[in-house]
C-alpha cells in the first residue's frame, strides 16, 4: 500500500497552525496596546492636533469672527469633544462631559448644528466647555478623523492627541480609560 509523504499528511495541520498563529499574533497586538481596545482607534494618536482654523461660537454676538485659539492651550492637558444638539448619545454623555470639565478644560466643537439649537442644548444640559468651535460643513471633523458625533479626544501638554473615544463617553469608559490617562499625564 502506497503511503503519502509525511509533508502531505501534515499539510492541513501546517495550514491550520499558520492561520491560528497569525490570528493569535494579531489578537496579541490588539491586547498589548491599550489604546487599540477601541477598534475605532484614531490614526492621529501620537500626532499633533490638526492645524485648522475653527470659528469660535459666541451665542451673545451674532457674527463672531474670532477663531478658537488652540495655542492658548499650549502646555495644558485638555479635551476636544465633538457634539451636536440633535445627537441623542450626546445627551447621554452630557453629565460625564460635565464631570470631565471639572478635571480638565474641554473645547467643544458643535458639529453641523444650528447655533440656536446648540444654545438650547447647553441651557438644558449645562455648558461644560471652555470654548466652543463651530463646524457647519463637517470639514473640521474630517481633519480630526471623526466618524460621527459624539467623539472625544485627549490632548497632552505637547499638543499631541493621545486618546480618542468614538461614541458616548460612559462612566465605565470614563473611569477605566479616561481618568487613568489624565492621572498619568497631568502634572
Amino acid at each position: 500500500m502506497e503511503t503519502k509523504p509525511i509533508i502531505l499528511r501534515l499539510l492541513p495541520l501546517i495550514i491550520f497552525s499558520f492561520i491560528v498563529i497569525s490570528s493569535g499574533v494579531v489578537l496579541y497586538e490588539f491586547k498589548k496596546k491599550p489604546t487599540k481596545k477601541n477598534f475605532l482607534t484614531s490614526q492621529l494618536i501620537g500626532k499633533k492636533i490638526p492645524d485648522i482654523e475653527v470659528q469660535e461660537a459666541d451665542y451673545k454676538i451674532e457674527n463672531n469672527n474670532k477663531n478658537v485659539n488652540f495655542k492658548e492651550y499650549k502646555n495644558k492637558f485638555y479635551a476636544v469633544n465633538f457634539f451636536a444638539s440633535w445627537c441623542a448619545p450626546c445627551r447621554i454623555e452630557a453629565p460625564i462631559v460635565e464631570d470631565l470639565s471639572k478635571i480638565i478644560p474641554i473645547i467643544g466643537i458643535a458639529y453641523k448644528d444650528e447655533p440656536i439649537d446648540t444654545k438650547k442644548f447647553l441651557d438644558e444640559f449645562g455648558n461644560p466647555y471652555d470654548k466652543i468651535g463651530i463646524d457647519n460643513s463637517g470639514k473640521i471633523a474630517i481633519e480630526w478623523g471623526v466618524y460621527g458625533v459624539p467623539e472625544t479626544f485627549l490632548i497632552n501638554d505637547k499638543g499631541e492627541i493621545i486618546y480618542r473615544h468614538a461614541g458616548p463617553l460612559l462612566y465605565n469608559i470614563f473611569k477605566s480609560e479616561v481618568l487613568p490617562i489624565i492621572k498619568s499625564n497631568k502634572k
Partner: protein, 129 residues
C-alpha cells in the same frame, strides 16, 4: 477711414467673444474633469459608517462631506495620490477599498494565495491517490 474703424471694432468684438467662449469651454471641461476624478476617487473610498459601500454609493452625511472635500482638494490642485494620502492620514488605510501593500497588509494580500496554492497541492495529491 470710418470703414476701417468699423471693421476693427467688429474684429475686436469677435475676438472677445471667441476668447470668452474658449475660456468658458476650458472651465466647463476642467469642472467635468474634476467631477469625474472625484467620482473615481470616491469609488475607491470606503464609507466608514455604512456596510460594504463606497462613499460614491452612500448618502450618509460623512460620505457627502468626504466627497465635497475630495472635490475641493482636487480644485485646489492636489493630485489623486495626495488626496488618498490626506484621507489615509486621518482615517487609516482601512478607508481605502484597495489597501496598499505594506508590512501590515502583507498577510491580507498573500494569505489567500498561500492557502490556495497549498490547498490545490493537497487536493491534487489526495485525488491522485
Amino acid at each position: 477711414m470710418k470703414k476701417i474703424y468699423v471693421n476693427l471694432s467688429l474684429l475686436s468684438f469677435f475676438l472677445i467673444i471667441i476668447s470668452h467662449l474658449t475660456l468658458a469651454s476650458e472651465i466647463i471641461s476642467k469642472t467635468s474633469l474634476i467631477t469625474n476624478k472625484t467620482r473615481e476617487i470616491a469609488q475607491n473610498i470606503k464609507c466608514l459608517v455604512c456596510q460594504n459601500q463606497s462613499i460614491d454609493e452612500s448618502n450618509s452625511e460623512l460620505a457627502k462631506d468626504l466627497k465635497n472635500l475630495i472635490k475641493e482638494k482636487l480644485e485646489a490642485g492636489l493630485n489623486e495620490d495626495e488626496v488618498y494620502n490626506f484621507l489615509s492620514e486621518r482615517y487609516g488605510d482601512s478607508i481605502l477599498l484597495k489597501p496598499p501593500l505594506n508590512t501590515n497588509t502583507i498577510l491580507l494580500w498573500f494569505l489567500p494565495f498561500i492557502i490556495l496554492v497549498f490547498s490545490s497541492i493537497y487536493i491534487t495529491k489526495f485525488f491522485k491517490k
